[in-house]
Symmetry: C2
C-alpha cells in the first residue's frame, strides 16, 4: 500500500529540541521519527518504526544465518536469579528496581544472562543438546545518570542479545566466532565502519571480550589503534614493561624539596638543585606519583591502597575502575590521611631512611601497587614520607618493593602496543560487544549437562550484544547534511519518495499512478500528495526525512518527464517517466 503523506502521521518541526546535543537526536525528532517521553525514553513514530523494523530484520537475518534461534524474555524480571550471581547488588544505581503489590522485588532487565542460563538448565541436560545459541531483540532498561544524546544512550533501548551454550572451550570459541562473524556482516550491510577492539569484560566477568566500536568524534569511548593493527579500548590497553635493569649498588638520596606541590615544580627544583646521576635533565618520567585511593568492596569493607605511576602520567579513572572492580574506587579523604600518619600528604613514598613504609615488607597494612614501568632496577624520585623532603635514586628491587602491579596510568599517543608499534588514540561508540563468559553464570546457577562419558560438566557460555536503537542513531549521525537525514537504502523508511509539485490535479494523478506502479514492483513508496503545500515545503520535508531516492512529478509531467533526485549526491536528472520507473525498480 502506498503511504500518502496527506494522511501519514508526520509533522516536521522547525526547531531543534531543546535537550538535543547531537545531530542524530535533533534530526530524528525534527523529522518525526521519534518523540521524547522522559529523559532517555522515546516513542517511535511511523517513520522511525519503519527504520527500526528494517534494521531489526537485518539483525534477525544474520542471527538466523549464524544458527541462532529467537526467543523473547520479559523486561520485568524477579530479583532471585540476579541475586544468585550477585548482580542485583553489583548493578548499583544503574538499574530500575521495583516491587509488586506483594512486596516482591523486581528489576527492569538491563541484560538477561541469568534468565537464559536458567531456561537452558530447565530444558536441556545433555551434551547432545549443545551447542545452542539463542537470542532476543528486546527492550532493555538502564537508569543512566545522564541520559543524553537521544537514542545513543537511552534509558529504554532495544538490544539484540544472544547467549551461546557449549560444553567445551573449543565449542565456545566456535560459537563466539559465529556471532563475531555475524556482527561483521551486520555492520557491513549497514555501511557502518567499525573497529574490533580488545575489551575488558567489565561487570560481565569472563575471559575474552571484544567490542565493536564505531569511530566517531562523539563516541564516549576512547580506543587505541597501533600502526601494526592492534586495537583495544583504553581500559583494556596493556602497557608494555621496559626491560629489567641490573640493580646497581648504592642507596637512595634524601633531599629538601620546599615549594614543590606539583610534579612540574618538583622537576624544576631537581634541575635547579640536584645533579642527575648519569647526567642529563630530570624529567617528570623520572618521578613516581603516589596516589591514595579508597576501595569499597562488595561486602562493604573499605580499604586504602596507594598506586604509583610515572610522574608524567595521571591515574586514568576508567582504567582504575576496571582494575579494581567489583570494588568501587574513590579518592582518599582528609580523614584517611589523619587516620594514617604514615601517609604524609604531598610527600608519600614507599621508603624512608628507616625502612619500608609501603610495599610487601611494610607494616602499614596499606597495599602498594605500581605501574608496569616500575621494573626491577629502575630508579625513581619519590616523596620521603617527611614534610618537604623527597628521595632520588630509589631503586625498585633494592630499596623498595610492591604488593602488586596495576596498569592504570593514562594511555598516550605514541605508547607502544603489544605488537611493538606506536599507538594513536581515537574516539569510538560501542555498537556491539562479544563476550566469552566462560562458566561463571553456569556455575552460579548450576547449569550442567552430561558429557559423552555420562559425567556432569558445567556449561560454558558466551554473551553477544548489539544495541539496535543505538546503531540506528549512529547511522543517522553518520548520514546527514545540513538539510536533513540521508538513509542508506538498507534501512531507509521508504525506497522512493514521490513528490508531486504541479499545481493542478495532473501532477497528483501522475504521482499517484507512478507510486502505485513502484509499490506493485515491491518498493516501499512515500507519496507526497498534499494538495495545498508548496513545492518548497515538500522538498524541505523530503530532504529532512531522507529517503535516498526522490522522484519529482512537476512541470515536465505534461511532456511525460519526471525528475530523479539522488538525496545523497544531490544529483538531479530529468528522464522519461517510464525510464524513471524502470530504473528505480531495477535496483
Amino acid at each position: 500500500m502506498v503511504t500518502r503523506l496527506s494522511s501519514f502521521f508526520f509533522r516536521s518541526l522547525r526547531e531543534d529540541p531543546a535537550d538535543a546535543e547531537v545531530i542524530s537526536h535533533k534530526l530524528l525528532v525534527r523529522a518525526a521519527y521519534i518523540r521524547r517521553q522522559a529523559p532517555g525514553v522515546f516513542a517511535w513514530l511511523p517513520l522511525g518504526l519503519r527504520v527500526k523494523a528494517k534494521l531489526e530484520q537485518i539483525v534477525r537475518d544474520e542471527m538466523s544465518a549464524a544458527g541462532a534461534q529467537e526467543v523473547h524474555f520479559p523486561a520485568l524480571m524477579p530479583r532471585e536469579p540476579y541475586e544468585a550471581t550477585n548482580r542485583w547488588t553489583e548493578y548499583g544505581d544503574g538499574i530500575f528496581r521495583l516491587k509488586d503489590r506483594h512486596d516482591a522485588d523486581y528489576l527492569l532487565a538491563p541484560t538477561h544472562e541469568e534468565a537464559f542460563t536458567l531456561l537452558v538448565k530447565d530444558l536441556y541436560s545433555s551434551y547432545k543438546d549443545l551447542p545452542l545459541t539463542i537470542y532476543q531483540i528486546q527492550d532493555k532498561y538502564r537508569d543512566e545518570a545522564r541520559p543524553r544524546a537521544g537514542l545513543l544512550r537511552g534509558r529504554e533501548f532495544t538490544m539484540k542479545d544472544a547467549y551461546s551454550f557449549d560444553y567445551t572451550d573449543e565449542g565456545l570459541d566456535a560459537s563466539y566466532q559465529a556471532q563475531r562473524d555475524a556482527y561483521e556482516r551486520i555492520f557491513t550491510r549497514l555501511g557502518l565502519e567499525y573497529a574490533i577492539v580488545k575489551a575488558d569484560a567489565g561487570a560481565m566477568g569472563g575471559s575474552k571480550s571484544e567490542e565493536f566500536l564505531h569511530p566517531t568524534p562523539i563516541g564516549e569511548d576512547t580506543f587505541v589503534r597501533s600502526e601494526g593493527g592492534y586495537t583495544a579500548n583504553v581500559e583494556a590497553f596493556e602497557t608494555q614493561p621496559p626491560a629489567v635493569l641490573p640493580i646497581v649498588e648504592g642507596a637512595p638520596v634524601v633531599f629538601d624539596s620546599p615549594n614543590t606541590p606539583t610534579i612540574q615544580t618538583l622537576v624544576d627544583h631537581l634541575n635547579a638543585h640536584v645533579e642527575k646521576p648519569g647526567g642529563g635533565e630530570w624529567t617528570a618520567a623520572d618521578t613516581l606519583k603516589n596516589v591514595v585511593l579508597a576501595l569499597t568492596h562488595l561486602d562493604g569493607t573499605r580499604e586504602l591502597v596507594v598506586v604509583a605511576v610515572p610522574g608524567d602520567r595521571d591515574v586514568d579513572d576508567k582504567r582504575v575502575e576496571v582494575a579494581f572492580q567489583p570494588a568501587e574506587v574513590s579518592p582518599a579523604t582528609e580523614d584517611d590521611f589523619t587516620a594514617n600518619p604514615a601517609l604524609v600528604k604531598g610527600y608519600i613514598g614507599p621508603w624512608t631512611a628507616d625502612g619500608a613504609v609501603l610495599g610487601e615488607e611494610s607494616t602499614s597494612g596499606i597495599r602498594y601497587l605500581v605501574d608496569p614501568r616500575v621494573v626491577e632496577g629502575s630508579a625513581w624520585v619519590t616523596g620521603a614520607n617527611e614534610h618537604e623532603k623527597h628521595l632520588h635514586s630509589l631503586v625498585y628491587g633494592r630499596d623498595f618493593t610492591a604488593d602488586g602491579v596495576v596498569d592504570v596510568a593514562s594511555v598516550r599517543e605514541g605508547d607502544i602496543a603489544p605488537d611493538g608499534t606506536p599507538i594513536t588514540l581515537e574516539r569510538g561508540m560501542e555498537i556491539g560487544h562479544v563476550f566469552q563468559l566462560g562458566r561463571k553464570y553456569a556455575e552460579a546457577l548450576g547449569l550442567k549437562v552430561l558429557d559423552q562419558n555420562g559425567k556432569l560438566v558445567t556449561v560454558t557460555m558466551g554473551s553477544y550484544g548489539i544495541g539496535t536503537t543505538r546503531i540506528l542513531a549512529a547511522i543517522a549521525e553518520l548520514n546527514n547534511d545540513d538539510k536533513g537525514l540521508i538513509w542508506p537504502a538498507a534501512i531507509a523508511p521508504f525506497d522512493v519518495h514521490v513528490v508531486a509539485t504541479g499545481k493542478g490535479e495532473d501532477a497528483l494523478n501522475l504521482g499517484e499512478q507512478i507510486s502505485v506502479q513502484l509499490e506493485a514492483a515491491g518498493l516501499d513508496v512515500l507519496f507526497d500528495d498534499r494538495p495545498k503545500v508548496s513545492p518548497g515545503v515538500k522538498f524541505g520535508d523530503a530532504e529532512l526525512i531522507g529517503v535516498p531516492q526522490l522522484l519529482v512529478v512537476g512541470r515536465g509531467a505534461a511532456d511525460g518527464e519526471v525528475e530523479l533526485w539522488d538525496r545523497r549526491s544531490g544529483e538531479r536528472e530529468v528522464v522519461p517517466t517510464a525510464e524513471a520507473v524502470a530504473r528505480l525498480t531495477q535496483r
Copy 2:
C-alpha cells in the same frame, strides 16, 4: 530455511506445571511455547514466538486495512501525564510504580491514552490533520492480585491498543466503527467466536463502549444475551423498570417481626402472621433489602449510602463497583452503625411512623438509592427502623422517596432485556474492547485543533484494545485434545510438520528432500530429523506441538509413499510422495 528439530530449541515436558489451572497454560508450557519467569510473567520460546508473530501480523494487516498507523511507545512512562487525568491515583494497586535514581516517579504503562493524546497535541493543530487513528502492539503491565491462568491474565502481556482522534462526534462514530469492523475481521480470521456486548466504560470514562467477549466456561466475565439478540456484560445490563402504578390511599402497617434475620425468615413470618393485601402468598420479591455501603471518594472523604434492592436479589459487587466508580466501595462497619443510630441494623427502612429516615426528605444525611424496580406506586415490606419491627404496604411516592436510582441488583436468567425478551447468562473472556472516550482525555490534556472556522475545538477520541497474548491463549484453550494443541492454520507455528520415522538414513534423506521442497514452495516446515528418537516419541511431540498438517516419512518411503495426517480430524492417508507435496503446497 527448514527448521530441524534436532537443533531446534525445544523440549517437551511430561508434567503439567504445578501452577497451571487451565489447559492452554498447561499445554503451552509442556510444548515449550512459553516459560514462566515470575507469576504472570512469561518468556517466549521459539515455537511461541512464531505463533505470536503470526497473530500480530494478522492484527497489523487489519489495522492497516482500517487506516490505522503503527507507532510504539515506551513501557516506562513518567507520572505527569497520568497525574493530569488522575489515573496515577485511580489505578490504585493495579499498576507497577517505580522511581528513577533522581527520585522521579514512573509507571509501567497499563495503557497509553495520555501519551497518545499528548503526542497528537504536540504534532497536530488543525482539523485538516484529522481523522487520525494510531496504534501500537506493545508489552503492557498490570499488577494483578492473582495472576493465574497463564497468558489469559498475565502481569506482562502484549496488547494492540489503538487511539482515534476526530473533531466531530460523527467522525468519532466512523473511527469507532472502523476499529469495530477490523476487530470482527480479526476474530473471524482467527476462528474465534465472539459476542459484542454493551459494556460499561469503567476507568476509561467516556460514553460508548463495547466488549468483544469470547464465550467460554473459563471466562472471568459473565454476560447477558437475550432471545432477541441484545448482549451486555453484567455490569452494563440495564434493568427494565416495571410500569408505574397508581398510588392507592392508605398507610403502611407496622408489624412485629421477631427472629427474622434473613429475607426467607421474614417471608415465612409474613405468610404465617400477616395477611397480604390483595391476597396471595408473600414472596421475597415483595420485600426491600436495604444494604449500607461505605464509599471512599477520590479526595479521601468517606460517605455512607443505603442501597435498596428487591429482597429476592443480592447487591452485585461488580455492578456496585461500576455504579459508584471512581469511589471505592466497602461494606459498612460496626463503627458506622454505632455512629449512625438512625440505621437499626437488621431493621433498616426508609420510613418510620415519625417520618422519613432515608430518602430525599430525610435529615440523616445518608443518601438512599433504590433499584429501578422501586417505581412510583409500588408497595414494599421493609424494616421499620426499630428492633424486631417491620412495615408492609410502604408505597414509593406516597410513604417514602429516594435520592436516586441505582441499578446494582444481581442479574438473573429470565430477566427481561431492553429488547423485551428474556435473557440467559453466559461466561465469556474479554478479547477486545472498543471505547468512545469522547473529550475526557483531550480536555484534561488540552488537545484542541482549529476547525473550519478558525475556532479551537476539543478533539474527541476513541480507544481500542485487543490483548494479543490473551487471544493466543484463548485460541490454544479452544483448539486442543487430550494429546496436545491443534493450531488453526492462520497462526500455526509451522504449516507442515514432517516426521521421519524409518530406522536408516533413507527416511531421513527423503524427509529432508520433502522439507526443502515444501519450504521452497513458501511453507514453514518443521522437520523432525532426530536420528535416535523413537517414532512414538516423535508422534507424541508432534501431537503436543499441534502443527495442523503432518507428513510422515516411514515404512512406505521405499515405495515412494508417505502418510498425510490431519492433526485435527486425526485422519491419515497414504499417498505418493509427489502428490503429498502437491496437496500441501496447493492450499
